[in-house]
Amino acid sequence: MRVAESVNAALHDALGDDPALYLLGEDVLDPYGGAFKVTRGLSTRFPGQVLTTPLSESGIVGVAAGLALAGDRAIVEIMFSDFVTLAFDQIVNFAAKSVSMYGRPVPMPMVVRCPTGGGRGYGPTHSQSLQKHLVGVPGLALYEMSPFDDHRDLFATMLGREEPCVLFEDKILYTRQMFTGGTIDGLFRYDRVGEITRVGVGVGVGDPTGCDVALIAPGGMVHRALAAMRSLLLEQEISCLLLVPRRLYPFDGDAVRDLLGGVRAVVVAEDGSGGGTWGAEVAHQLHQRMWGQLRRPVTLVHAADSVVPSAAHLEHAVLVQDTDLRQALEETFLG
């Protein structure tokens, strides 16, 4: 099953299970089914719960907040996560504030879905990974889709928080296959501990914490991470543990520390541009917890401090590639 189908199935289930759940967004109706086809079939099955909207990113996030405030639940699709900038006020200054600024918790079960990232040649305003700009808003949680996750559980978890959540969905994953059964290939296995997926040689069979180096990365980075880990292992016999937290923020530094065991070299990777990254927050949390243990500071890998160009060869140079990951892992381990 492809990742887009998995998310689609999860949305089918969520809308079916909960008649008070709405899904809104631009062009989400059948037969179009959304720009990335993730909402396919939903409006046919749940015509009363699925609304197509005008081009009004700010407004539709506000509408979702209003539904949540009134006791319903809402999932909004922002067609490209780049446009979440238009909804910043509604997310930061209304939805997230409402949870906490009235002196008592106000339930605000809503999810803003954001197809994210580059690699498809869509150009500078349709390829960004803006996760980092929403990190650190009190009352707002950030998640990222991965090819490991049970997406039904993911939506249930986010809505169950009763505070606004933004879900980043790396577009590049939509057409990739879901991983199932704990096995990636002959080399790597995975399991899940709490909100974190672990991937490595030892996972599920031995002690994964015995790895040489650890890589922490969100879901969109998984395939590049696997490629880097594979070549690192086969060509240099360096073993890497990959941790994929589905919740990016609040980041659970304790849980990650526990999963890292005695690892002394850590890399954090993401698709956002350099500067003020999510990785800096992760690094801060790990430095606080693992100062004596780390051989050198956590290495951050991210896209160049640049717009994401349209042309494939230029885009390739700006975005994180598996070779960048491999190099960072190697240098961090050996360095």
Partner: protein, 304 residues
């Protein structure tokens, strides 16, 4: 209108808070009291009084029920007092005392009480109101969402995104615009091209303009609008021409004296106080007592 028990449990004087004239006077004295407390250094933060605009919420209050959502703005004390009849809870909020309706966290501009909610970012509440109206249309037909916005707030793009959706989906939304001819310091003519009537019409929202400061008259004009919205006639805009008597927040009125004098000519207060001096005096004392009592309370407790 159901009477909310004050968040503080403070005994409410029903005769003052249920009678239109009493309510008008309570709001007036409440707002004057705030400016007075500020002058005496007893309040911090900011406040935007509704002096001169009290009749709008007083007229609308009996037309609304607790099933209706009400979105208020920065100039919302009158809205809150008319709709929730909770002066002690509000003053405690503004002064950060026990019994504050939002624990002292929200303060003057950020109030939540049942389905009454205010926020400090202009225009932001309109799309939210549309969301609640969507809920009401689907799940609680007959109830409405009411949003108060000033004339200046029609500068914000959110207003139009909201109107468009509300009209497309024919939702039970009433936008009440208290047009006081000014936004902070900027006259409407410098901030609003065209008219609010034209803007409502552009989206297909019904619009009604009135300049009456008479509570009963305004209520009579508003009643059929609300009835229509409840009945499914789609979004309406009620525009009330009003006069802001006081500063925008505090001590920041740079309008010329002549203009202030003209605004004051429209004030309902002097005639009412002259006609009912006893009621005026009781309202003033009522507010004085509340202020004294609330200010003697311990500070509100809250943890992030």
């Amino acid at each position: 209108m159901t009477l909310s028990v004050s968040a503080s449990g403070h005994a409410v004087r029903e005769d003052l808070l249920t009678d239109d004239a009493g309510l008008l006077l309570v709001i007036r004295h409440f707002e004057s009291k705030l400016l007075d407390l500020f002058d005496r250094g007893l309040l911090n933060g900011t406040t935007h009084t509704c002096l001169g605009q009290e009749h709008v919420p007083v007229a609308l209050a009996p037309l609304l029920t607790e099933a209706d959502f009400v979105f208020s703005n920065h100039r919302g004390h009158g809205h809150y007092l008319a709709l929730r009849r909770d002066p002690a809870g509000l003053l405690a909020e503004i002064t950060g005392r026990e019994g504050a309706v939002c624990g002292g966290v929200g303060g003057s501009q950020h109030l939540l009480n049942g389905r009454y909610l205010s926020t400090g970012v202009q225009g932001q509440s309109l799309p939210v109101a549309v969301g609640t109206a969507l809920h009401l249309a689907r799940s609680e037909p007959g109830a409405v969402a009411v949003a108060f916005v000033g004339d200046g707030t029609w500068g914000e793009g959110s207003v139009y995104e909201a109107l468009n959706m509300a009209c497309l989906w024919r939702l039970p939304l009433l936008v009440v615009t208290e047009n006081n001819g000014i936004a902070q310091s900027t006259p409407t003519s410098m901030e609003l091209a065209g008219t609010i009537a034209g803007r409502a019409a552009a989206f297909g929202a019904a619009h009604h303009l009135t300049g009456t400061a008479d509570v009963a008259g305004l209520r009579a004009e508003a009643a059929p609008l609300l009835a229509a919205v409840r009945a499914g006639a789609g979004p309406h805009v009620l525009e009330v021409d009003v006069h802001r008597l006081g500063p925008h927040s505090k001590g920041d009125d740079t309008r010329p004296a002549e203009e202030l004098r003209r605004a004051a000519e429209h004030d309902w207060y002097a005639p009412l106080a002259a006609a009912r001096p006893d009621l005026d005096e009781r309202a003033r004392r009522f507010v004085d007592d509340i202020a004294e009592e609330v200010l003697s309370r311990p500070l509100s407790g809250w943890r992030p």
